[in-house]
């Protein structure tokens, strides 16, 4: 989850204190390039792909994945953003922020939607995202790419493309940012 969101969110509010650098900027770049190759391989190109970043943490990752796809295939897939705050089952616990815009560049009917998030945790964000995506059309398939899968799933959801599998304690926090991935805890 994006640091900004977490800060505003009871009961998690507090300051993020990192205790380990899990991935460096180079590691992230390599993981994203690998995921891009996997997306292309699995879908035989980029023909029907739409890359959708989940607000707010997934948006920069989606942007980088799309850039990587373009570097490899020479065409840029449409990139959109999706805010699932209003589709969540824990509404009221997390804030709805006006900066988190939903902006899908194209009709999703018949497309292959690659949802992108920074951290996969309980799976509840992705559940909400699947509901939201279905309100925008009927994609041929929906796939999931995440920078970090930290386990602790509460729903039957699994990612298709993973930057890094990271075993964590439940109370730890994973922060994906521009120059790396940190593992830490929130402190008051």
């Amino acid at each position: 989850m994006a640091e900004r969101e977490r800060r505003q969110t009871p009961p998690f509010g507090g300051i993020f204190v990192p205790h380990a650098r899990i991935m460096t900027a180079d590691d992230m770049g390599r993981a994203i390039r690998r995921m891009a190759h996997e997306v292309i391989e699995r879908n035989y190109g980029l023909e029907e792909i739409v890359v959708v970043g989940l607000q707010t943490g997934g948006v920069p990752v989606a942007e980088r994945l799309a850039q990587s796809l373009e570097d490899i295939e020479g065409i840029r897939p449409p990139v959109g953003t999706l805010d699932v705050a209003l589709h969540r089952d824990d509404i009221g616990i997390r804030p709805v922020v006006p900066e988190a815009v939903t902006d899908l560049p194209t009709d999703l009917d018949g497309r292959i939607v690659v949802l992108v998030d920074d951290v996969l945790f309980t799976g509840r964000t992705i559940r909400a995202a699947l509901d939201a995506v279905c309100d925008f059309g009927r994609p041929r398939s929906v796939q999931l790419a995440v920078m970090v899968d930290r386990g602790h799933r509460e729903l039957p959801i699994r990612p298709d493309y993973v930057g890094k599998n990271l075993p964590t304690r439940r109370d730890e926090v994973v922060d994906v940012h521009e120059v790396g991935v940190d593992l830490g805890v929130m402190q008051k």
């Binding site: 209003l86 009221g92 815009v101 939201a132």
Partner: protein, 320 residues
């Protein structure tokens, strides 16, 4: 999710800080986007019930509150004074208790007496939203007006806005004056002296009695309806004479700056406060106001019912 034991209310613009207004207006953008989706509906308020309790007629306010509630997946129940037990002599308080007993989480209240929404808020645990109380306030109208102006201009700061017509009986004017000035606009009230409220002296506005003298220097002109139902004495000689001096005719519209906006809260009495041609002018944003009304009311309903927020204070403890 449990019902809020002590819900927040939204009763008026009076007392709201600029930052509070801006927060609601910024959040409204999020809800406006939902209105443009192929399926304009999100499950945010699933299982919540919004009751519209209207003791006065309404087209826009009631329909837009109901539309807003449904776009958020809330259920709606409606009470109209005419068809209810009020006509059998039931008291307001009993009526409110009955509506709340049906599980209403929010009461959208319109009543011809000023202060009714505040009164109702003291009686109930549900969130109370003022949808117009007599000649006092109509806060969601003011928010949608501000949103419409911001949508076109980015900000209200430094805008010069004339509110023209029956200001004395207009709750819209009261809420608008408070909201426009809080957001940095300059407000000119234009009306015959008999249609100005007696207490206008303390308001942060200037007053003019001739529309023709202010037209050329406006960023927006806001026309109000003559409220025949509230005018009990001879405040204007005749509708025709009023229209001569204060109606936005095509000629007067031509004298407005080319980028000035024309607003009206509806319903319009074409030919009285505004001519059909001026209402259809390319600078008229009257239909934008109607569309934005739904988005603003979604934001208010969501803030009160979906986010455990009190609009007049900080965060309320989450129900975990």
């Amino acid at each position: 999710m449990a019902t809020n034991a002590s819900a927040g209310h939204f009763l008026g613009i009076d007392g709201m800080a600029r930052a509070d207004l801006e927060e609601i207006l910024e959040l409204t953008t999020t809800f406006a986007e939902i209105g443009r989706r192929p399926i304009p509906k999100v499950p945010a308020l699933r299982g919540r019930t919004v009751a519209t309790v209207f003791f006065e007629n309404s087209t826009r306010t009631r329909m837009s509150f109901e539309t807003a509630a449904r776009r958020l997946s809330a259920d709606t129940i409606a009470l109209s004074a005419g068809g209810s037990s009020l006509s059998k002599g039931e008291s307001l308080r009993d009526t409110i208790e009955v509506v709340t007993s049906y599980g209403a989480d929010a009461l959208v209240v319109r009543h011809p007496m000023a202060g009714t929404a505040h009164r109702v808020a003291a009686w109930t645990d549900a969130a109370v939203i003022n949808a117009g109380d007599g000649c006092h306030e109509h806060p969601t109208q003011a928010l949608l007006d501000c949103y419409t102006l911001r949508e076109r201009r980015g900000a209200l700061d430094g805008m010069r806005i004339a509110i023209v017509g029956d200001i004395r009986h207009s709750r819209v004017a009261r809420s608008d004056v408070l909201a426009f000035t809080a957001l940095g606009a300059e407000v000119v009230l234009v009306a015959p002296a008999t249609l100005l409220p007696p207490a206008v002296v303390g308001w942060p506005v200037t007053v003019a009695h001739e529309l023709d003298l202010v037209l050329s220097d406006l960023d927006a002109v806001y026309l109000l309806r003559i409220q025949h139902e509230r005018i009990t004495e001879g405040l204007i000689p005749s509708i025709r004479e009023y229209a001569n001096d204060f109606s936005l005719t095509p000629e007067r519209a031509n004298r407005l700056p080319t980028d000035a906006l024309i607003l009206h809260p509806g319903p319009t009495n074409l030919g009285v406060e505004i001519s059909a041609a001026a209402a259809a002018d390319s600078r008229s944003v009257i239909l934008d106001q109607v569309v934005n009304g739904v988005s603003v009311r979604m934001a208010i309903l969501f803030l009160l019912l979906g986010s455990n927020r009190n609009l007049t204070g900080g965060a309320v403890e989450g129900d975990r």
